[in-house]
Amino acid sequence: MTGERTITVNPEDVKKEILAKYPPKVARKRGKQITPVSSDEKESLQVGANVRTVPGIITQRGCCYAGCKGVIMGPTRDIINLTHGPIGCGFYSWLTRRNQTRPPSDDAENYMTYCFSTDMQDEDIVFGGEKKLKAAIQEAYDIFKPKAISIFSTCPVGLIGDDVHAVAREMKAKLGINIFGFSCEGYKGVSQSAGHHIANNTIFTHVVGLNDTISDAKYKINLLGEYNIGGDAFIIDDLLEKCGISVVSTFSGNSTIDQFANCHTADLNAVMCHRSINYVADMLEIKYGIPWIKISFLGPKSTAQSLRKIAAYFEDQELIDTVEKVIAEEMVPVEAKIKEIKPRCEGKTAMMFVGGSRAHHYQELFWDLGMKVLSAGYEFAHRDDYEGRQVIPDIKIDADSRNIEELEIEPDETRYNPRKTEGQMKALEEKGFQFKAYEGMIPDMAKGSLIVDDISHHETETLIEMYKPDIFCAGIKEKYAVQKHGIPMKQLHSYDSGGPYAVFKGAINFYEEIDRMLNANIWHYLEAPWQKAPELSGKYAAE
């Protein structure tokens, strides 16, 4: 198939078809989270988000614990992450997220290959689990002598009233190492997003600012919201290093708590995944005076823009020149690869339903190949990730979001140090530079497309039936249901077994992957010869 494929399906019809199969109340609720993009006039569009999932609907979403332990703290290697609860939660979050890590030496700490749990039994539920938690921390300390231990609360812990924070304080005083707890019980909030928030707040409170050593690197940034799936953070680091930019701390791909402790010494925060971490960027600005910008290293165009933005922030001609040189150099193989692959992908269509930012940022890589995005949505984003940050003051606080703590942050008495004066920031802004700006997914959605927040299995099926996409992107739970239709499914959480896909080099990997998936022979063999031509032309055996 070649040539631009226009979207011929009316998104309003798709929405109607989807809602028809729900009980009336469910249909009303889901209707608010399904937004057709019917015209090019998109300013008034709203997408209901970060609201409860209807029970029974077959959602993609996970829980608060998964967001806290699995996503945010999972990639941090030099800390013992101890799950306080029955065995399952620790087991399922053991090595299942593909965040790679690179300890500096063969004997440097790396606990990411281990699963630590208090393995609560019924007597712990009945009589309380604090005693066992304390004993488990002591045993972990005796065997491993770690520099830090964190405790993750699972559902029953909150219900039976175990005070993990008191235990953490007591054991911290006793053992003299950093020990802190997360109140990330699975039932909190409405999705993983609550867990991201609890994890980040806790790290901000217990770790950030513990090490004031300032490195002598010239351009120091933090990368926020990059989780090193398939090695993304490695090649981002390489690219930045090539430009002369050094990363103090990445939250949290390939990370260590030592780096978190030192992150307040950076001069700029670059935010990749807006959803999981924009509030940390805000807190770092208020407390330490570090401005933040939204960037994206997914797609060559966004990568180039992001590098230019970082260089413009530092206002140093030498850096600006280096960045231009690096971009020019890196774009050569990217353009060659697009030229090679585009003819085989052009005009094909994609859908993507993941996370809190990837369903937006990955669209660019498909556009590069001449493909169209028919429908997209996030699994656990908030309205600002669709509609842009200007909507934040209008977002209603509900019973679920009220339960997730917002930290009150004040400027640090001694360490608050605005990296730019108000005048400098204003001057930059007048030149078109945007601090803490994110317009969300909506402006990039084409007329005729459909936005679906927290998509369900039934909705996925209806979209596939009506839009007939050429490729579908989501997570592991959706993968094989989609592929049974004969449509290739790319995991954008864990990248299947692929990656890295970030920056220029990763874009090349991604184009190759999409080419492979779209043009794989296997999809042509779904029918056996006798299914294609069932008429009989001969007779076997005599009658």
């Binding site: 993609q60 620790g90 053991w94 290959t113 281990y114 208090t118 393995d119 065997i143 094989y480 249901a481």
Partner: protein, 458 residues
């Protein structure tokens, strides 16, 4: 080293589990529910439970694993999950139209004490569950037992809540196959068919979690025990439960409820356990064993004898579930190997006793721990190295660090295929296991051979 912090020195742990050799009850219950035709498993708890179980089962089978959740929030955790479960059942029957929903609980709903039985009764009464549809439910608290316990609890609930006794024998034998692969369930049916027995096998995930690629997604694939068979299970001549941990309770419950004589056999892994299964089945069904079965037995025996030089005296470390480990250990002993370190995370006192009996010829040199974890297993291996490691995918980290030939067996297997298609039960399954074991042992021998000792013919 990937497990660089694991010391050789073993310190006793009472509170800290490291690298578990088990997971929690609800995933076993979800897997059991998938083995009923037209059934949608439902997790009564936080969304994360359902997401984690679906993800793990999906990675293990590379197949769609459909299941729903009650999506507890903080409010539901305080006020109880009745409204969530009723809403869930309404949504499920309206939108997904299953014939049955198999509800299992979680540590959350168990801790707050939701009365699922009462909620389901209410749902039947008020019509949330449509006429002719079924909801079965099992209590599967995550803080008791393991994934095997959850499987057993769900199978027992299905049996007790679905079986009907009309008093007229159906002439069939119930077989509860235990927490095994779909390939194993299919093989058990094949063996029964060779004997001329038409069993009611439940659950039966063959055809559900190893389905074909057709270009069409089937929410409820062709496989699975038909609901009519579940009902009829109350009229069978006898029940055989395979694996005491997974299947004893279900067959005993059927005996208590419908007076169906039952017996519990080991999973038919390896020569002797398969002998016992075939013998038990022919006895309760009153049939004679056809030559084709004896032929398969002889083939397995033949290969074992052919390959003795490569097997005899080789030390093996194992982790897994009791029902698998008992006959697997027996098989390893049968073929001349020496299982030296064995852990399971699933509790149950009989385990250590059985393993000690099976390995009695080795005296007290065998390390067995129940419940134990893979961290301990790794420490044992550091103290007494082995020639072969058999466990689930997580073993690959130990195998790499210690450079041990590794055969994946058990749950979950996240990085290889085959388990859904090639059984390890029955005589054929024994051959398959042997092929895998010999494959890694002989590859290792070839890898380590000097040029002059490297040989074409082995």
């Amino acid at each position: 080293m990937l497990l660089r912090h694991t010391p050789k020195e073993i310190k006793e742990r009472k509170a800290l589990a490291v690298n578990p050799a088990k997971t929690c009850q609800p995933i076993g219950a979800m897997y059991a529910g998938l083995g009923i035709h037209g059934c949608l498993p439902h997790s009564h708890g936080s969304q994360g439970c359902c997401a984690y179980h679906r993800s793990t089962l999906t990675r293990h089978y590379r197949e769609p694993i459909m299941a729903a959740t009650s999506s507890f929030t903080e409010g539901a955790s305080v006020f109880g999950g009745q409204a969530n479960l009723l809403q869930a059942l309404l949504t499920i029957f309206t939108t997904y139209n299953p014939d049955m929903v198999a509800v299992h609980t979680t540590c959350l709903s168990e801790t707050i004490g939701d009365d699922v039985n009462q909620i389901v009764k209410k749902a039947y009464k008020d019509g949330t569950i449509p006429e002719g549809k079924y909801v079965v439910h099992a209590a599967t608290p995550s803080y008791v037992g393991s994934h095997v316990t959850g499987f057993s609890n769900m199978v027992k609930s299905i049996a007790v809540q679905m079986a009907e006794k009309t008093g007229k024998s159906n002439g069939r034998v119930n077989i509860v196959p235990g927490f095994v692969e779909p390939s194993d369930m299919a093989e058990i049916k094949r063996i029964a068919a060779m004997l001329g027995v038409n069993p009611i096998l439940f659950p039966d995930t063959s055809g559900v979690v190893n389905g074909p690629l057709t270009g069409k997604f089937e929410m409820y694939p062709k496989g699975g025990t038909p609901i009519s068979d579940l009902k009829s299970a109350g009229d069978s001549m006898a029940s055989i439960g395979l694996g005491a941990w997974a299947s004893a309770e279900p067959v005993k419950a059927l005996d208590a409820q419908c007076k169906i004589p039952c017996q519990v056999q080991d999973l038919p892994i390896g020569l002797l356990a398969t002998d016992r299964f075939v013998d038990a089945l022919r006895t309760v069904a009153g049939v004679s064993v056809p030559d084709c079965v004896t032929q398969e037995r002889g083939q397995l025996l033949d290969v074992i004898s052919d390959m003795q030089p490569h097997l005899y005296g080789k030390k093996v470390a194992l982790a897994g579930d009791p029902d698998q480990l008992i006959p697997l250990t027996e098989f390893l002993v049968t073929i001349g190997m020496k299982p030296v370190h064995i852990v399971t995370g699933t509790p149950g006192k009989a385990f250590t006793k059985r393993i000690k009996e099976i390995t009695a010829r080795f005296g007290d040199q065998i390390n067995v721990q129940n419940p134990g974890d893979m961290f301990l297993l790794h420490q044992w291996i550091k103290n007494e190295p082995v020639d072969l490691l058999i466990c689930n995918t997580y073993g690959k980290y130990m195998a790499r660090d210690e450079d041990i030939p590794f055969v994946r067996h058990g749950f979950p297997i996240l990085d290889r295929i085959g388990h859904a298609y090639f059984p390890t039960v029955g005589y054929k399954g024994g051959l398959h296991l042997l092929e895998k074991i010999l494959g890694v042992l002989m590859d290792r021998k070839d890898r380590d051979a000097s040029e002059e000792t490297f040989e074409l013919v082995e």
